[in-house]
Amino acid sequence: MKICVLVKEVPDAAVEKRMDPGTGRLDRSGEKNLNPFDTHAIEAAMQVREGGVDVDEIVAVTMGPESAFRALHKAVSLGADRSVHLTDEALSGSDVCATGYALARVLESESPDLVLLGQQSDDGECYTIGAVVADHLKMLSLTQVIKIDVEGGKLRCERQAEYGYDTVEVELPAVISVGDAINEPRYPSLKAIMGAKKKQLDTKSAGDVGIEPDRVGEQGSRTSVLGVNPPAEKDAGEIIEDEDTNETVEKIVSWLEERKLLA
């Protein structure tokens, strides 16, 4: 089995998220890191391998600017065998659909049996790229998967659904977006961090994977940002310190009663 894991370089969690009002795009300047949700997808791939399934290769794949190679190094330090970096100025400004199309073209060149990705990116937070990629690849797609078992060449996935949890059997190949409850990602060892830079990293341009120029970038994106507004400001919440538990409980109950929240 060959597993490709889609990963993304995002602004570090410590960097305040900001929209660039001039471009309508997210301001991605400042410190960057591997999207934390993607670490669950890499860990899921590792656990499939360590669970006894014959996994030939785990390949981390990203689309992003030149700096995104650092996210790939981290993905490799977490267990991927090699990585692929799709980078091209023509891709800049791609919306979700255009990005999904471009990633699908890279994945086609890899022919994976299973594509894994995190439930969302920590910057765009769209939750949707997996479904776009899957439709382009004509593969089945599942989101919010919190358990994966490989049985007889098929996947048995438990997923969060609108009404509780579903168990779904999926034929391979498939695109699976994992929820962050699926696992606790491991920390990379110092040896793995140092060794990551030596692992194979293939850099590809849009033309290398047959991307049609008019389907990507700002021109190839059918969405446009008409305005950017900050979220409405909320009043500061009330913090009740637990110095005396009985008193704290009384305060909480009283707070709830005042708002008629107790039956």
């Binding site: 979700v96 939750y127 949707t128 479904a131 989101t143 969060q160 609108e162």
Partner: protein, 111 residues
């Protein structure tokens, strides 16, 4: 400029977000001078004529019922893509929720 809305159902009832989406679709369709229709997908006996017809109370002028497994995005994408292609709907609308994200994204890629 007509509008197509996906209505999710579970155990003989439509999801509240979906009903809200049908109402919103009907309101927008009225503003556009067109019609709002709904798509439902299921393989059980609970997707009855009466249940489908109840979407009319929320403004759906027509309901397309397709047979397919429930809870998955792909069968709904297939059904909506066919209805849009055959009947010429201009907009697709979804209630919020996981399945709405999944179907909306898949449908956009397909079309």
């Amino acid at each position: 400029m007509s509008i197509l809305v996906y209505a999710l159902h579970y155990e003989g009832e439509f999801n509240k977000n979906s009903l809200g989406a049908v109402s919103e679709g009907a309101k927008l369709a009225k503003e556009l001078g067109s019609e709002c229709a709904a798509v439902v997908v299921g393989d059980g006996d609970d997707l009855t004529d009466d249940l489908c017809a109840s979407l009319g109370e929320y403004g759906a002028g027509k309901v397309f019922r397709a047979k397919g497994p429930e809870g998955l995005g792909a069968p709904v994408v297939d059904a909506m893509a066919k209805v849009i292609s055959d009947e010429g709907y201009s907009y697709a609308l979804f209630g919020g929720g996981l399945l709405g994200f999944e179907i909306g994204a898949g449908l956009t890629a397909r079309l």
